[in-house]
Symmetry: C2
């Protein structure tokens, strides 16, 4: 990646996340129903300051603050707006989970599959086989996915003249949040899937262009 | 108002809105269930360009574009974010309506009261007397109002170092949107009401300061 900070990506299997976070001092991001700590990725460890940071938006805040001369993900004048954006985005983008989580399970490494299945199925109270809609229900639920994309497209149309991103010409945190979702869908559904072909055809090809524009920021060993 | 555009405020009674909009060529902002046009305020008429504009965010866009040397409400890099902010704000701020609409009815001029009652009661399927919560339900519903303020407070805390507003030091469109709500509550509940005292005590006095900071922009003959 150009004009940013040097970094090395470490891929971690689900059952190893908690032990790694504890080892490097990355704090938990939530509390489980039983009261114990819940550790999630992404996490960074910055050897320059000997600091571990958890939670993507806190990581972005940390990097913006610690390295003020690099590109900003949360520029002054957009921080509360980007938090509100995520609160608006999350519910309207949730119908895709019933499709994407079972598809994700299939492409995970064997070491991560049982953990992923156990915890996600508990969350939804359904097996992955029950979760993914079929027949007529599939069309209804997939239409909800499309509705969500339409809402975000409506927001982005407000900046037609400014640039392709929520923050205009230069992507901000919420743009990478959307971009990460698109990368997720491309990887788990597959480039040649009906799902990915649908998504990239919606909103006059906005999502294909959006994903393409952010590709240069992807970790090279993805 | 300083360093802005000269303007004159015209107050319009509810039954006169549609005829006035048609007269000055201000387009409707929505369609009624029966298919006919629905006209709402605010509306501006700009004699310099002979243009009428309806809908507050479209008015802000028009003014930003037509008068580029005046303060911007929708700066480049914030437009989709501000639209998403409104979509996140609207559902979490809706529990206040059951309190504020009946209170509004009481302070309207007689010419507006029957229209306001008819249309709002139709929307909720309840009379104003049924809509406003009493007894134990009041505490439950008022707590929901407070929950909504807490969410917005959480967003604004992300800019503690940047300034008091969603856009930082200088208020943007969404800040005036929140400010207009606060003015509404102050006027219909009353400065000495329990409701206004509650609101201005929440979130370490954020809303009292927020309203005070925006007071200089209020129409002087309010």
């Amino acid at each position: 990646m150009s004009n940013g900070l040097p970094y090395k990506t470490v891929w971690v299997e689900y059952p190893d996340i908690e032990a790694l976070c504890k080892k490097i001092g990355a704090p938990p991001t939530a509390t489980k129903p039983d009261g114990s700590s819940f550790y999630t990725l992404p996490v960074i460890f910055d050897p320059t300051t000997n600091t571990a940071v958890s939670d993507s938006i806190l990581i972005a805040e940390y990097l913006d603050k610690t390295y003020p001369d690099t590109p900003k993900l949360l520029p002054v004048g957009t921080r509360p707006l980007q938090r509100a954006f995520l609160d608006a985005y999350n519910p309207i983008s949730s119908p895709v989970f019933q499709f994407a989580l079972p598809a994700t399970h299939k492409i995970l490494r064997p070491a991560s599959q049982p953990y992923f299945r156990l915890h996600r199925e508990k969350l939804f109270g359904k097996t992955f086989e029950e979760l993914v809609p079929t027949g007529a229900a599939r069309d209804v639920e997939w239409a909800k996915v499309k509705d969500g994309f339409n809402v975000v497209d409506g927001w982005l149309q407000a900046s037609k003249e400014d640039g392709p991103y929520a923050l205009g010409q230069t992507p901000g945190f919420v743009d990478f949040f959307i971009g990460a979702r698109l990368t997720w869908f491309r990887l788990v559904f597959g480039e040649d899937s009906e799902e990915w072909k649908d998504i990239t055809s919606w909103n006059e090809g906005r999502w294909a262009a959006f994903a393409e524009g952010l590709k240069k920021y992807e970790a090279v060993d993805l």
